[in-house]
Structure formats: C-alpha cells, structure tokens
Subunit: 412 residues, 3 copies
Amino acid sequence: MSDAPIESIKRLAANARLGYSLEQPFYTSDAVFEADMDHVISQKWIMAGHVSCIPNRGDYFLYKIGGEQIIIIRENTESIRAFFNVCRHRGSTLCSAQSGNMPKLVCPYHAWTYELDGRLLAARLMPQDFDKAENSLFACHIREFHGLIFINMCEGSPPDFDATFGDMGAILDYHGIADARIAHAASYPTAANWKLVVENFFECYHCVPSHPEFCSMHAADSLVAVGAGPSSGPADALITFAPKLKAWEAQARALGRPIGTIDEPPESSHLRLLMQRMNKDGYAAETQDGTAPAPLMGKRNSPDGGRMHLSFSPFSQIVADDHFVILFLFTPRGAMQSDVEMIWLVDGRAGADQVDVDKMIWGYHATTMQDKKITEDNQAGIRSSRYRPGRYSDQEGSVIKFQNWYLAQLGL
Amino acid sequence: MSDAPIESIKRLAANARLGYSLEQPFYTSDAVFEADMDHVISQKWIMAGHVSCIPNRGDYFLYKIGGEQIIIIRENTESIRAFFNVCRHRGSTLCSAQSGNMPKLVCPYHAWTYELDGRLLAARLMPQDFDKAENSLFACHIREFHGLIFINMCEGSPPDFDATFGDMGAILDYHGIADARIAHAASYPTAANWKLVVENFFECYHCVPSHPEFCSMHAADSLVAVGAGPSSGPADALITFAPKLKAWEAQARALGRPIGTIDEPPESSHLRLLMQRMNKDGYAAETQDGTAPAPLMGKRNSPDGGRMHLSFSPFSQIVADDHFVILFLFTPRGAMQSDVEMIWLVDGRAGADQVDVDKMIWGYHATTMQDKKITEDNQAGIRSSRYRPGRYSDQEGSVIKFQNWYLAQLGL
Amino acid sequence: MSDAPIESIKRLAANARLGYSLEQPFYTSDAVFEADMDHVISQKWIMAGHVSCIPNRGDYFLYKIGGEQIIIIRENTESIRAFFNVCRHRGSTLCSAQSGNMPKLVCPYHAWTYELDGRLLAARLMPQDFDKAENSLFACHIREFHGLIFINMCEGSPPDFDATFGDMGAILDYHGIADARIAHAASYPTAANWKLVVENFFECYHCVPSHPEFCSMHAADSLVAVGAGPSSGPADALITFAPKLKAWEAQARALGRPIGTIDEPPESSHLRLLMQRMNKDGYAAETQDGTAPAPLMGKRNSPDGGRMHLSFSPFSQIVADDHFVILFLFTPRGAMQSDVEMIWLVDGRAGADQVDVDKMIWGYHATTMQDKKITEDNQAGIRSSRYRPGRYSDQEGSVIKFQNWYLAQLGL
C-alpha cells in the first residue's frame, strides 16, 4: 500500500481492533509514514534538546526529523529560533555541519545572508522587483521551557504551548532542569517504526524478560503496577500498590516536591503523563549499587527518594531521580527508521569531579541497547505475511491508550 | 510496473512468445515478485535443508525465503516442525540467530512461551477472555523425506507430498541420503531474479563457454544430449546418445541401481526431473582427476559409474555420483536477489579422514562461482531499455519447459 | 508522485514560474527522471569521451547513462561503433569490465559472437528458422567529431549531427582536439539530479562565495558579465565589459583564432553556447600562478591569451585556454545521482615531461570538488517539505534559459 492515500489509511485505522496491536502497514508503509508526518508528527510540540547546547549568539544545532532538517539557533540571550534548513533562493541547505556557530545564516552556495531572526539581509544582483521581505527563512515554531527546547513543524498555528504544558513547570523547576548541565549524551538509532519505539517505552511487560539491569534497580511491584504510567498495570496490582505510593507522596510533599500525576486520555492533544513514585528500598538512585552518581538536583535540600517519568508526548520523555535527569528524544526518520537520543542532565552547579558518568549511565545505557534490539526484532517479525495484530496484556494499558490517541490523530 | 496487479501480469504472461526468454518485468519487477511469492513460491514444496542439521530436540535453523523467515525445529526424535518466525503477541521474531537450540520457543520480548509443537504455553497477565488455544504459532507445512526437509508456505492445503514425490524414494534410498552426513556447505548469494538462477541451471548450452572445470568432468556428447534433463538437447544428439545410455542403464540396474527417468510436463505441479547417466570414461567421480573423494554412498556394494540429476522442483535440485551428493537450494529473496545454497553430503558412515573435501568441491564450487557471475551479468543486461526476449537454442529445451510451467502457475 | 505519468509531469511543467527554480519533483522524482530519460536525455547527442581512449581495433569502453550501458568500440581505423550492452540471446551484458579489447563481441554466457559492426556471426545449435540477420546488436547512434565521441540513444532518427554542430568545427580544429592526448581524467560522482549539476555549471553567481581558486584565476568583471555564457550576466555589466572583449577579439582574430559567439535560444535542440574571452591580466593560463602547464595547443603559433567555454548541450561542456582543454561530461544516472567526469587534454605532440599535471588540474579539481559539495547540499535542501521555487538573480540568466529549454523538451 505504498501509494495508499489518506482515505485508505483511515479505513484501515477505522477497522483497528481495540486491545490488539495495529495492522502491518502502520508499522511498515511509506504512505502511512507520510500521513504520520502530516497528521501527527508535524502537529505536535516535540522536544529537540537542551538549551545548554547553544549558550552563545549564533550557536546552532540541527534537529533531523522525518525528511526535515531544523536549524535551532540562538538569536540572543533571550531568544532562540528554529528554521527549516532551506535557502529561499535555490533551496540549498544553509548548515551542513551537525552543530556550530553562525553569526549570520549565510548560504554557502550563493551567499544569500539571513539575520538570526530569519530575515533576508543580503542577496546580490537580484531583479528590481525582488522583495527581500518576502524571502525570510521558513520558520519552525519553537519554545524554550525550563531549559528544554521544543519545536512544532505545523504550517499554521500550533496548540498553545502554555495551555498544553504550563502545569508541568513546577516539577521541572523542582528538578532544576533550566539550569542543568549535560553530563552525557548518546544515540541509539533504531531500525523500526517510531510507534514500535514508543510502544516499547510505554509498557513494562517486557521488563522482566528483557531488562535485568533495569529490573535490579526497581521494586517488582512498582513495575507491574505503574511501570509505564499511573494506570498502566493490572487493576489488582494498582490496588495493592496504592497505599505504599500514598505514604511516599506525603513524605515527598513535606520535603517540597510537587506531588501529582498526569494521565491524559486518548482524546488529549499530547497524551501527557506524569508518574512519580518511590525508589526501590535501599536505592538512593537508579544505579547498579543504588548510590548517587551526582549531587542532588534543583531545589532539593535533601533527597526525597523519588523517581519520575514525565512524558510531554509520545515523542518526548523524561526520567529523573534525585540526582540526574534523562531526556529521551524519540524521533521518526522513516517508515522503518527512528532516532533514539538520550541526554543525561545533572545539576548545573555539579563539578566534573562530582559526577560519576559510568555509574550514572550504567542502567539506562544497557536498557536502551536492549530496547534497540527487541524493537528491531519486533519490526523484523511484523514484516512477515503471517503477522497478525495480537492481543495486549493487562500490563500494556498505556500502549492501548497510545494507539487510541494515535488513531484519533488521523481524524477518527 | 511496480504496482501492476495480477491482472496486468497475467496479460503480460499471456503474450509471452513460445521459445523466447520472458519480458523484462518477469525478471525485474517487485509486483511480479509478489505474484511469484503468492502464486508459485508459496504453493510449492521447497527443500530447505538436511535433517542432520537438527539432531536434538530443540535444535533449529532459520530458512529465509522472500520476506519470510521459517523456523525449522526438532520437536522430538520422530518429528520436526516449521513455524513462521512471528510471535502471536506483538509480532516480534522469536529467533534471531541463524541456528541454535530452543527447549521451548520463548519470545525474547515479552516471554510468551510456545511448546515445540507451536502451542502457546504461557503468556503472563493476559485478559480473562484471552484464549491460548487460539494463539498458537502459525505453522508452515513441513515434511521430512529420506532425510531431506521440505516446507510449503501455502495457507491452505498443499499438494499431497507422497503422491507428488513418493516415486522418488527408491533412488534417494539407494543413495543413502537419509543417513548421509554434511561434509561441506556454502552460500552463493546471487543478485538476480530466481528465474534467471533456475534457467541457468536448466540448460547446458552455456557449459562450454562458461565452465571449463565442469566440462572437464563430463563427456561432451552427454552434455549436449541430456545436460539439463532427459529431453533437453537437440533431437539428433539424443538419438546418438541413446544406445550408450541404454548400455549403462542395463549394467547399473544389474548392480542394484533403480533405473528410470522422470521428465514432467509443464502442466505438472512441480516439474520434476530425474536423469541418470554414466560418468565420463575413466572418471569414477566428478572430481578434477576423476578419483573418488569419499567412500561409496548408500546401498552400493560397488560403484555403478553413474551420475544423477534429480529435481524436486525448479527450486530444489540434487546432483549425485557414487561418492557424494550435492543439494542445491535456489531460494528467491527479492525481485533481483536470490540465495544459492549448496550442501555436500557423504555417506553417514564415512569418517572425516575418508573424505577429501577440497577434491570433492573442486568442480561444483568453481562452476557455481561462474554461474553467480554470469547470472548477475544476465540480470544486469536485462535491465536495459533495449532488452528484448531472445530466441532459445535447441539446447535450451528445459528452459522453455520451465517457462511454460512458470506461466501456467500464474493461472494461464 | 513516484508513478506520475507524463501528463501530470506536463501539468506541473506548464505551471513552472518563469525566473524561479523548478518545483521539487523535477529534482527528486523517479517518474520525472524516467520522463527526462525518454524525452530529453535519449534524444540528445551526448559527449561520451575522446577517441584516443580506443586507438586499436577492438578497444572499447563502457559509457553508463541512466540505467543504460553503452559499449563504445573501435571497428577499424575509420570507424567506431556504439551498442547497447545486451546480448540478443538472453540479455546478458557482453562486457563487464569498464574498458578492454574485444576482437569480436563474444557473450560470456553462451558465446553468441558478434562482429564489431554488431552483426551476429555465430550462435550454436539454433532452430532452423532462426535468422542471424535479425539478431544484430542494438546499435546506438554514434559520431566522432574532431576526436570527440558523441552518442545518441534515440530509437528513431536523431537530429542531424552536422547541421547541429558543424559550425563548431573550426574552433575545435584551432584547439587541435582531434589530435590531443589525455593528460588526466577524474570522476566526481554527485548525489544530485542532473539538472542541479547543469544549473550549477550555468551560472557564476556562486563563484565568489564558493570558488576561491577559480576566482583567483579570473577577472571579476568577466565573471559577472559573461561567467556563464555570452548573455548570462546583468545588462550593465555586459555593457561595461563589451569594449574590452571586442579589443581582445580583434587581437585574437589577427593571430588566427576563429572569433564568434553562440548563444542558442531555449527553442533550439541542444542549447549550444560558445563564449570566448581574454584571460585575466597577467595570466597565460588557468593555473595558480598563471603560467602555462603545457605547450601551446593546436594550430597556434603564439598564445592568443583567450579562454573558451563551449557547450554542445547541457550535458557536454568544454573549457579551454591556450595550453589545455577540459571536457566536462555531466551524465544523469538516477533521480538524485549524476556522474561528473573531467578529461584534461593537452596537445598531442606534448611529451610527458612537458606537462605539469598538478599545475594544470589545480584550479578545476578544487572547483569541481566544491561544486560536488554545494550541488549535493542543494539537493539535500530541496528534499524538504518547505522547499519552494526561488527567484533567480540577474547573474543566473543562463539557468533560466536552460530551464525554458528543458521544459520545452517535455513538449511544452
């Protein structure tokens, strides 16, 4: 169905069976990926990085998503900008290095020169009726929020950022994310459709078979009950877990942590999620021996023993404990190719000698390498003529919710 | 014609000119390859290997054909099974290694566990109305026949195996194939459509220009007359050759060899072929110096001086003399990609020190490397806009028959 | 629009906006590339090399263009021939090496043997009604012209060669191209549509930003005024430059150089161009220090201080000064892949010790490496959903003319 128009995709989506994985084309077809780009990916606010990458005027990096390249560049101390990496003259890319500094955006082909706000400043020898004002770079919507950079590629008006994410500010502030510094970053390109990457992240049913390191850092009952979000586990597991969670919440609130969960329904624009819970007994941090690899982060005066999963959208995730934060960037690149980028943040005041990077990345580096393998194997199996949508378990509730949200984005 | 439906393929096929090579799309088009998968490849019993690869319970190997992966696994001493490599839960592959041992088929993603007969044994935390009995692995038809493993991927009932191949049992038994052991195996992946691989194998018109080693091991008159099957050569060459052949047949029959030929018409389901003839004078075996590289095989008490070509179908060939057997597996992988796998068998009782592998493979390794090159060059030329179906020679009768059989499979 | 038929391409072409770059599909689509092959590339006389590559009977080289391979082979001292590299039997390529010598064209598959004029000489064991006379190789139109080899792939009659190019003979003769020898050759495969390669070559608006070496060898006013052809610059620059040019022309004419310009309109079949002008002051040749890297070429008794750009068509360019000639072969290979081949010629009488190859190639090797990069960046940017046709400058007049010519080829 490589040339299936949106109507036939909608028909296929309308026939999706609740509680089952999606039909093959949703994971393999170029036409579905194009529809995903138009109707889902380009419509959402997507986390593209941390502001500390571009401290000075003209600092930029490229964020590549689908077939697009977005230049994210600092205009001045107050403002960052995002532009499609396409010159208005003959379409050349303006930047070819992954990151760098451009005092002006000068096209290397014919030297058309743009101000960092995208306005065309200079174009030699143009016809008299040429209007520079009509030849600004195509801007991409961008917002900085507590040090996190979000872009939105839609051509019209994107969802209001503050109305969508404003209530998450307090918890980001508590973690000191705006002033954090990057201690480590790594890429895990994954030969699988972006929905398989997200589905993998949105359930902990696979944790026991696939993730020994991860499971060693977490209490088994918490993984079953809320391993992939506030309501992701079986009903009875949730009931058993609730009183323990309540007790920790009271204690953490007393220490100043903003308490609360977010668990948006499939009808929401971004399917946001916020789940906070206590660490495994005896673990101060998500490390091999449970000891902290870095100083306390943000507003904390003392550890509150908590672990947070915050999802801005299926594309943009945060995992954090008292001592470090991990940004997960899930970036669709093609029907069967996704980028997975992880950025480890520590407190902005932490010196290099105060951070044990190897200790900090031990668990999630291993886990993400495993997720890359199982997600790629999942994609490989789905390509068979005998793949059939399969039934989800009671521990995959968040995946079902994600799929309903996804299908709703296609206009169903 | 990448999206040509079966109807336009049939129209093209209906216009095929008898005695000429096929039109370009039959060798290059993805749409034709899909039709080949559905209407030909998936409908046939295809040799996938020798049973000695999987002696113990749980031993398995993957057979990859088209876009499919088939797990071939030993259930117990009496039974082997074949399954599509797709978990019924979310579609992950169950096995990613090419071969190994699995006491149960456990999906590495979420640990759904299948018995070696395909039944789902365990799936944690599933909804109450989930029925394990409805979630067995998708089986692939499989038959062991004198130590050879055949699969059939059709969704319904495949052609009756014994009715199709039963009459070949006596000759396989004479060669001792059930108890043979693998002395060597090698892969010759070929960037060409499977029909070009088959057409190459089904004629000896190219032997003199292309295969010096092969020709050195065979009498010229036998290659012309019956080099690619009982009736593959020009009429006059067949007439000259017939009395010599008859004389050898009488002698071989006296020594216990089952004598007879098979030369199925294009209307048959598998286009089977059995051609037995005498070695070149002075040659005991198909080797460089004509001496035997291994002990006598099977039921023989003394050499009968014969050489056999047995074809189960265009995909599955055997070449054998008194001392070794070669299985040829021609496996379609894509419109312009095929696998060619060769497995050399020797008598099961032959010790390692009784087999000279280098001597044994000398002729056919060189020949298959040459065939890979000429078949890939054939594919390369066919991609030109100036390729036109060309006339076959009188020594390519088996190719014409193969093409008629192929076109018949498309429902013509 | 991967399957857009010619009608939808024509509709898109009809909507092209004069003075703007083309819509995205013209640079990215497989369907447009197919249309380009049929309606443009196959209809034109295209320079494929220099005759000195194949001095002896049976010498050949392959010229690969689009999906085609053309064998260019010397038949005898008077004649060279071109054939599609496809055997009339089963379509195998006849030659797989890039160049070599074939006393006869013998197919390596089944030994069908062709005379160097394409006639089938021998085909063993063919049916009685087989007619060798109907099985000659498919010829490709070919012409040698002053040592340059041109091919035309059309199935019917190509444009008359002499009527098209005859008037260029005098200048080629003056440069001694027929008797020149190849001093150096290099390939610059470029991941971009052929039209981007041509557009890059047909304007000097990018010279200042992109080509420091090139600009160092040329006077700035000449680059602006006529850098990409007689009328390629802004009107006022042309007016200023005209008297200087006239003065040089008079001087060069007196030394025997054929003077004149060619600047064909978009309605012409090949959009030919001939621009001759003086070197930069103080430069005898296009080298780093302006000194000559080789002896005078051709008919010259003394240097005339001139520099020539001659374009047979958008695919086939010559740049020459008094001491060396560069052939530029721009060869389309796929929607986003082109070959760029450069062949440096020196006077046929020049000994190896008289030619400083490094000095000779310094400027244009650097320039073409730069063009490869900027053309590939141009292609990369055009793939964005935000690419829009952009306005051309007053220094890109030849590009606009090229586009009008291109659109006319599609039947508009």
